[in-house]
Subunit: 330 residues, 2 copies
């Protein structure tokens, strides 16, 4: 039996292309003493991987080496006393059908507490990022107005729901009428805007936010963000969690200068990295799982099936093809 892997063939320039990746065969790995043999089950594909492909988000991927991301795997063979065959684990693993690990950086998953895939989304880095960035930087208070861009994405849907739990009026921005409808019907957003059809996003935000915007949770950057930031109230907070509109830029983008607004309105604009908050993961995961159980939090996934769908799923992120968390089922 041969193993399979997806390698980075070329560093993407602009929009990533299928030809930047290659689906290759290799020898099956040897499961040494102390190791476990893993079979990939669910693979998380995420916008931040784009930066690892061309060096803006270190550590970067080497050319002709396997891409890597958060993966849920089944243990199919164990030479390690800490793990037994049939257990499920998650970790930052290679885009391979099979791989070995010493298990040191893996987390064991409880398949009974929640569906396995939830550990890639609402109970994984996605939910943790949404919660911690909104709470720490956004500091939502009852009666405030929260605007979320990339609202129908994995982080955005969770941010909006936590905003509602915190008592905010929540407005989402997304790119199709279907997503806009879903934000209101499934995720409880008060209002949502289709930025592709709104003639004037700045005016649309002003209309939907008669008391102005207190928190702007930014997943996208670019002109959408400029339009929301122009509507911020004094002391507005901007957790910046992603900038998907810029990840594929070849040249530096320009926009309205933010600094005068920062001065006049005493704004806080802050980037967020989940790695700084590892100590709080257990506490936050418990809170998210509780809200899930109580039905206060729901989530959606877009699942593509088949190992060879990995590049397509990744590219699809930048085409807005996902609703919620994008996952490939192997």
């Amino acid at each position: 039996m041969k193993n399979r892997k997806i390698i980075l063939k070329k560093r993407p320039v602009g929009m990533p292309l299928p030809s930047d990746f290659s689906n290759e065969e290799e020898l099956m790995p040897v499961n040494r003493e102390g190791e476990i043999l893993l079979k990939s089950v669910y693979v998380s594909v995420d916008p931040y991987l784009r930066g690892k492909m061309n060096g803006t988000h270190p550590p970067i991927f080497e050319l002709n080496e396997s891409v890597a991301s958060k993966i849920i795997a089944e243990i199919v063979e164990s030479n390690n006393d800490n793990y037994k065959k049939g257990d499920f684990v998650s970790g930052y693993l290679d885009w391979k059908m099979y791989q070995t690990s010493d298990g040191k950086t893996l987390q064991k998953l409880d398949a009974n507490a929640a569906p396995l895939r939830a550990y890639l989304g609402v109970l994984g880095i996605t939910g943790l990022s949404a919660y911690i960035a909104l709470m720490d930087i956004g500091k939502p208070k009852t009666g405030e107005t929260l605007v979320v861009s990339g609202a129908a994405g994995a982080v955005g849907t969770i941010v909006g729901q936590i905003g509602k739990i915190m008592g905010c009026r929540v407005i989402g921005i997304a790119g199709t009428d279907e997503k806009v409808a879903l934000l209101k019907s499934k995720f409880g957003f008060d209002e949502a805007i289709n930025y592709k059809t709104a003639p004037d996003i700045k005016a649309a935000i002003a209309t939907l936010c008669p008391s102005g915007v207190d928190i702007y949770f930014d997943n996208v950057g670019g002109t959408i963000s400029d339009a929301v930031i122009a509507n911020l109230n004094e002391y507005g907070r901007v957790p910046v969690c992603g900038s998907i509109s810029n990840y594929n830029d070849v040249e530096e983008k320009t926009g309205p200068s933010l600094l005068p607004l920062v001065v006049y309105k005493f704004l806080t604009i802050q980037g967020f990295i989940i790695g700084d908050h590892v100590a709080r993961f257990p506490e936050v995961t418990t809170q998210l799982a509780e809200w899930l159980k109580e039905g206060k939090l729901t989530y959606s996934e877009t699942i593509l099936e088949g190992f060879d769908k990995l590049p397509e799923a990744f590219i699809g992120l930048f085409e807005g093809r996902n609703e919620g968390k994008m996952i490939v089922k192997i």
Copy 2:
């Protein structure tokens, strides 16, 4: 005897002009029961007043009414038991030779503890802003690199010196070779750049900051800020205390999009308003006075003499005519 006042005649469009102001006579004020009659001694002129002239920085000045700012005044007549003739006070007062007050919002000054004018600068809002914005948002640590724009201004010179006290490497940006020399010789900056003659500010910063920039204290906005922000390290902090390059803009300025950098480098960009920190004024003033006495802190002033110099002094702020705090001696 007639009183004199400087009123706002027109709302400035772009650069303020002498014709936006008018020097007028009026009747002397009547000093009623419970009031004190004040004679202006030193008047602080500050860039933020520009925003009050055209409405971007409320409360705004009314047309044909007196401009107002922080003023040190002598009590020339008292009908109020809390104040006696000959005392000096500071407060937010009108640009008038004489005015009355009920004394409620005035501070008594100790003319023996420090020169009176220091209460408009290093021991006033200027020093308080420099200290609190640098400490709270900048969070300077020993060995870090701090870059200050508008470095030869009132806030900038104090920020740089506090940065040195905190153990930072400090680089200043100013607009003349004289200011650059003074930053190094008088204020102890490690290096300074003349942004008007540097062929490439971004490259100059990179050369002078081989370990990158950890804190950028921004007084100016615009292209200078873009050049420094491009050199920020991960977790960089940007206290935004002023945006003098933009105060006279008629049209919205554009520049490189900051949000992608905020995401990739986990930056914090935060506006600052001194009014939020009133409770800490006594403690911070004590610290600044101590540093002054120990010779760790020095300051400079540009003093114009004569009541009618007020508009000229204000306009001079935007022409870089001041070194340190701009004050008009009446």
